[in-house]
Symmetry: C2
Subunit: 282 residues, 2 copies
């Protein structure tokens, strides 16, 4: 496949890490960075994540492909105007929610040039300095409503994701948002709430620092994640997130009850049930 001129809008963790991979895998002939944050643009240049930075309009004009790696609220705001400005470019986004975004341009005359995706990769860090090598590899990427994209646009996006080592899944946006609530969004809420619990209750921070086990670190790791990214995800996926969150609170109340009543049998059963996650997560 011929190398493309690729604009990356949002040169933070997600866009910056993709830029590294696009170059590494010889997918791009030129990498153009765009970021609303001028310090991030400078940092992306300095780290050589991209070859140059431009305004969004110039970047669209100078590219074959426009990759959008910005928070999902910004995506919903920006995507329609980007679709207005393109000629025949491919536009692909990497956002964590899909329904609102797809609805926002479902009647756009150039809808076919857009491919909606969600690569299941990230870390709890953010910004261009968090961009890392080897990202995305061996993870899943979900392509939503593929039948609404032009065949050539879809083909190129699939080529890109395969080339960087991802395995492809196709899904309707509604199903995507439901599954994402289970396997990603709820984990973040749990972790944020756990951090707040411990910070609220444990006034001796030195004790947390000294005693924190690997277990605690692993459950609280996601609590470092960027609010500007996560607030809009939870809001856009409100119904699914609330549904799973209510179930999670109900499950925690079962643990509370079993301990309050010193009901060993019930607590054994609850933990035994939880152990079944071994079937799914190695």
């Amino acid at each position: 496949m011929e190398r493309k001129r690729i604009a990356i809008v949002g040169v933070g963790l997600i866009g910056g890490s993709l830029a590294i991979r696009l170059h590494e895998k010889k997918i791009s002939s030129r990498l153009i960075g765009v970021d609303a944050n001028k310090e991030h643009e400078q940092k992306a240049l300095e780290l050589e994540l991209v070859d140059e930075v431009m305004s969004i309009d110039d970047a669209i004009a100078a590219s074959d492909v426009v990759v959008l790696a910005i928070p999902v609220d910004k995506l919903v705001d920006l995507l329609p105007s980007i679709m207005d400005k393109i000629n025949n470019q491919v536009v692909v986004d990497l956002g964590s929610t899909k329904s609102q975004l797809i609805n926002a341009i479902s009647n756009h005359p150039k809808r076919g040039r857009y491919v909606a995706t969600h690569p299941m990769w990230g870390t709890e860090y953010s910004g261009p300095q968090a961009a890392m090598r080897g990202a995305y590899e061996n993870k899943a990427v979900i392509i939503c409503n593929p039948e609404e994209s032009d065949a050539d646009a879809l083909e190129w996006v699939k080529y890109m994701y395969k080339k960087i080592g991802m395995h492809l899944l196709e899904m309707e946006a509604k199903a995507h948002d439901l599954h994402a609530a289970y396997v990603s969004h709820i984990s973040h809420i749990t972790s944020f709430a756990l951090a707040n619990t411990v910070l609220e209750k444990e006034k001796e921070e030195q004790a947390i620092f000294e005693l924190a086990s690997a277990g605690f670190e692993s459950t609280v790791r996601l609590a470092k994640s960027n609010p500007a990214m996560w607030v809009p995800i939870f809001m856009q996926n409100k119904e699914n997130v609330l549904d799973v969150l209510k179930e999670h609170i109900a499950q925690l109340n079962r643990f509370r009850e079993s301990i309050e009543k010193e009901d060993n049998e019930y607590l054994l059963k609850l933990i035994g049930d939880a152990n079944k996650i071994k079937r799914i997560i190695k």
Copy 2:
């Protein structure tokens, strides 16, 4: 320091991993395994975690040090009778709760021979086959109520933990149980409840398997932990665990409220607060 004959009661993850370290660091001249589970005893021999296996009475008689690495309910049952049987041996336990155990033998004439400890190390796996090299290193170990132990017993136990690379902290049992609820026990409940939530809501297990991100895996990892170990920990530390668990449920309800009301500002604040965990966990 002269090498000791060491009996390890409970040759699972915790005892087995310690056995590996004791040999590696030339702390033991002989390692004797004891386990209520005969298959575990055979496995520990086969894996060469210990040199031989014996009944508990024979093991006490043949040792200079008795290490107890069994669930905390079994510890409370067994420790008084072990204290009855020793002459001048050092007895040390590695349990995750300390108050009940220390209370159980506080008036024993040989109380001084016992040292109460909690090394902050573990994995979500269990049994002798889960024992691993390099365990305990660079982690904290808490020694509880050190003033109640004989000087020579305390000195040897500190020597052992330093030699295997741990950093020592001293704490009263009551304070230990409180801190342990914050930095370890609540993480396990969160993770168990998260596993149950997802298993309850997400009937398409294939979807979890394919989509699970690194974030989900890290928050749900502890849900694989052994019920026989964790039920007694939660029950023995009931008051502290319930206190933290109630706070955690309250924190989750704040997330729920902010999303229900689409209160972006409040949700931003909650996540911003959670981000403060960065001060403590790198």
